[in-house]
C-alpha cells in the first residue's frame, strides 16, 4: 500500500490499521494455541460457571496472566473489523465526492 501511495488516503490508512490489528490477533491466537494445545504448559480447569483455574507447569504467575489476557483475542479482531468498516465507508464517501465533483464544477 505504501508503494502505491495508497496510505495518503484516510480510507486506505484505516485499512492499513486493519492489517496491523490482524497481525496482532494472529500473534495472540498463535500464542494461545501454542500454550494450550501444542506445548500444553497451561492447564485450564473450570471450577464453576464464574471461575476458572489456570495452572502453569512451572508455576509461573506471569505465564498464567499472559495466557488469561491472550484469551481475550476479540480485543484485537473487533477493532480490526471496525477499522476495515471505517476505511471502506471513507473510500465510498471519497468515490461519491469524485463522481459529483465534475457536476459541481460544471454548475459552478
Amino acid at each position: 500500500m505504501r508503494d502505491k501511495k495508497l496510505v495518503k488516503e484516510t480510507g486506505w490508512r484505516f485499512i492499513q490499521y486493519l492489517v496491523f490489528f490482524l497481525i496482532l490477533w494472529n500473534i495472540d491466537a498463535f500464542l494461545v494455541h501454542l500454550l494450550d494445545d501444542q506445548l500444553v504448559v497451561v492447564q485450564v480447569l473450570q471450577i464453576d460457571s464464574s471461575h476458572i483455574q489456570l495452572s502453569a507447569d512451572n508455576g509461573s504467575n506471569s505465564l498464567e496472566t499472559l495466557f488469561y489476557c491472550a484469551k481475550l483475542d476479540h480485543l484485537f479482531c473487533v477493532p480490526a473489523l471496525l477499522f476495515l468498516y471505517s476505511g471502506l465507508r471513507r473510500l465510498l464517501k471519497a468515490s461519491h465526492s469524485e463522481v459529483t465533483r465534475p457536476e459541481n464544477q460544471r454548475n459552478g
Binding site: 502505491k4 483455574q53 480485543l75 473487533v78 471502506l88 468515490s95
Partner: protein
C-alpha cells in the same frame, strides 16, 4: 491461579456477535463501492477479502457461541468432537484471505503493466497520427509545386 471467567465469556460472545455484524456491514459497503466502479481491480480484491472475513467471522462466532452452550450444559464431549472441525474451518477461511491477498498482489502488477502498455500505445498512436498528417501535408505541397511547373 483462580480468575473470573466472566470477562473471557463476555469478550468472546459480544466480540463474536460484533464481528459477524461488522463483517456483513463491510460486505454491504464494498458491494456499493463495486457498483460505482465495476472493473476496479482493488475493489474486486476488497470484495473477496470481505467475503473471506465474513466466512471467518461466521464460522468462528458459531464455534465460540456453541462452545459456551456445550460447556455450560455439561456436554463437553460434544464440543470436544466438534472443536477440531470448527478450528479447521477457521484456519481454512484465513488461508483463503491470505491466498486472495497474495494472488491480487500479482494481479495488481499485471494490471499496472497493462495500463502502462495502454498509455504507451495511445502515445504511439498520437505520434503516428501526427506524422501521417504531416506527410500528407508535405505531399500535397509537393503536388502543388509540381503542378506550377
Amino acid at each position: 491461579m483462580t480468575l473470573p471467567f466472566f470477562p473471557i465469556w463476555l469478550v468472546d460472545v459480544v466480540g463474536s456477535i460484533m464481528m459477524t455484524i461488522l463483517s456483513f456491514l463491510c460486505l454491504g459497503v464494498v458491494f456499493e463501492l463495486k457498483r460505482s466502479d465495476q472493473y476496479n481491480v482493488i475493489l474486486t480484491y476488497l470484495l473477496w477479502l470481505c467475503f473471506g472475513l465474513a466466512a471467518f467471522a461466521i464460522s468462528r462466532s458459531l464455534g465460540h457461541i456453541l462452545k459456551y452452550q456445550f460447556l455450560f450444559s455439561g456436554r463437553e464431549i460434544i464440543w470436544d468432537s466438534i472443536r477440531p472441525f470448527s478450528g479447521a474451518i477457521n484456519t481454512l477461511t484465513f488461508v483463503f484471505v491470505a491466498s486472495v491477498t497474495l494472488f491480487f498482489e500479482h494481479i495488481w502488477k499485471i494490471h499496472q503493466q497493462v495500463l502502462k502498455d495502454k498509455q504507451d500505445l495511445q502515445s504511439a498512436h498520437k505520434k503516428l497520427f501526427y506524422s501521417e498528417s504531416e506527410s500528407r501535408r508535405s505531399y500535397s505541397q509537393a503536388d502543388r509545386i509540381i503542378g506550377c511547373f
